[in-house]
């Protein structure tokens, strides 16, 4: 019974989302965008309700639902809004909500990088190009917008294809996902292994952590010589040069930024260089493409030459 009812609920919700988006897309004549958005929202809510029911026993975190709702709502409004600048602003909303999702996944570094790079740099570029290349209508009516913003191209067929895709993906999640193994112990070991390369961090942590006797684990003047991550001990030398082995604090582990840094610069050192080269080539390409030849007549050239002399 469950095997039949679950896919029907799932495909019903997917179809609802598809119909809603199809209605909400800008079109000729009457434009029931609010109605379409509501239908799509009901469908999205149904999908998440289905996901919640399917993973009973694990009550989901409400922050996740909040950020997902904002991200999906922003995305929906972005593809249906007739005014391009508003679409870009709704995309910034989606970016902010998905950086919230990143924080829930304890990827703080990427969350902030996302806000800085996407919302701060890329979207501003988009807004500038929009302002440079759109004849903004002064009236409030959307009739003043260019026709290519007011009418969508093939809304019915496109939403149909899009939600065939999403129905396939979500039903694969039901049948295919249980085959996934959860985290391997080896991955966590590598993570801890990086602690051996951070004696300074270990030293600072031990100087601030109280041992069982109420004293700090090591004194301010002590120095951590080396760290053994596998049995969680550190070799400590005091000012007299005497060495001893001290167990690491129990809660000492690698932080998110440190982990990303090691992964990027230690485990995959070439990758960041490649990214730099891609960015450099893109910058050069953009400069070459968008450069405009300035036409200068003879008088202006003479005036410039005279100014220099």
């Amino acid at each position: 019974m469950e095997a039949i009812s679950n896919p029907i609920l799932l495909y019903g919700a997917c179809a609802l989302v598809g119909v809603g988006i199809g209605v909400a897309l800008p079109r000729k004549g009457r434009n029931p965008q609010v109605l379409g958005a509501l239908v799509a929202a009901v469908g999205l809510g149904g999908l998440f309700l289905w996901a919640g029911i399917a993973s009973q026993g694990a009550l989901p975190n409400y922050h996740f639902y909040l950020f997902s709702a904002i991200a999906l709502g922003g995305g929906l409004r972005m593809i249906t809004h007739p005014r391009p600048v508003y679409a870009a602003l709704y995309f910034i909303l989606t970016i902010l909500a998905s950086s919230g999702l990143y924080v829930i996944l304890s990827a703080e570094f990427m969350a902030f990088a996302l806000i800085i790079v996407y919302a701060g740099a890329i979207l501003i570029t988009y807004l500038f190009v929009l302002m440079l290349s759109t004849q903004a209508p002064t009236e409030e009516e959307t009739d003043a917008l260019s026709p290519y913003d007011r009418f969508a191209r093939e809304p019915g067929a496109a939403t149909f294809v899009g939600f065939i895709l999403i129905a396939g993906l979500t039903s694969l999640m039901v049948t295919g996902a249980p085959g996934l193994d959860s985290a391997s112990a080896g991955a966590a070991e590598t993570r801890e292994g990086y602690l051996e390369r951070l004696p300074g961090k270990v030293e600072r942590a031990m100087q601030r952590t109280e041992g069982e006797d109420g004293e700090m684990l090591i004194a301010r003047s002590d120095e951590v010589v080396s760290v053994d991550a596998s049995d969680r001990t550190a070799l400590v030398r005091n000012t007299d040069g005497a060495e001893r082995t001290v167990p690491l604090p129990a809660d000492l582990s690698l932080r998110n930024v440190e982990g990303v840094g090691f992964e990027l610069l230690y485990a995959k050192p070439g990758a960041i260089e490649i990214a730099g080269i891609i960015l450099l080539m893109a910058m050069l390409g953009a400069v070459v493409l968008a450069r405009k030849k300035v036409e200068m007549d003879e008088e202006a050239k003479l005036a410039m030459a005279g100014g220099d002399a």
């Binding site: 593809i79 990427m110 895709l165 966590a188 891609i278 960015l279």
Partner: protein, 118 residues
């Protein structure tokens, strides 16, 4: 069957994730991707079409971060850096091209360039 997915890897930082499943993230990611795809196919404004590809990048990023958390390593997160790089490079080049095209025909309509098809 699905409860198996729900027993997602419990991390040590900053606190164990209570009850969030990988499937929820994949569903958000998939829906965002589908929205971006629908937008890319239906909208006729060149700039909005590129914005929709950014939405699809974003969906891929959420899936990568979720898998990175699921497997408790940072590979997915470092890959998101490359998604950001590609997005930035694409924005620079594509927008330069859009500006060029706009100078030629004073329109952003994608179908006004239909003669470019081979």
């Amino acid at each position: 069957m699905l409860v198996d997915i729900a027993t997602m890897a419990q991390g040590d930082f900053p606190e164990p994730m209570t009850g969030l499943t990988l499937m929820h993230y994949l569903m958000t990611s998939g829906l965002l991707f589908a929205l971006g795809l629908v937008g890319f196919v239906t909208r006729r404004n060149l700039i909005i079409m590129f914005l929709c590809t950014e939405l699809m990048f974003q969906a891929a990023g959420i899936a990568l971060i979720a898998f990175s958390r699921f497997h408790l390593n940072h590979t997915g997160e470092t890959f998101v850096i490359f998604v950001l790089t590609i997005a930035a490079a694409e924005a620079a080049l594509a927008l330069a091209l859009v500006v060029l095209l706009f100078r030629r025909k004073e329109t952003l309509d994608a179908s006004s360039w239909a003669e470019l098809r081979g």
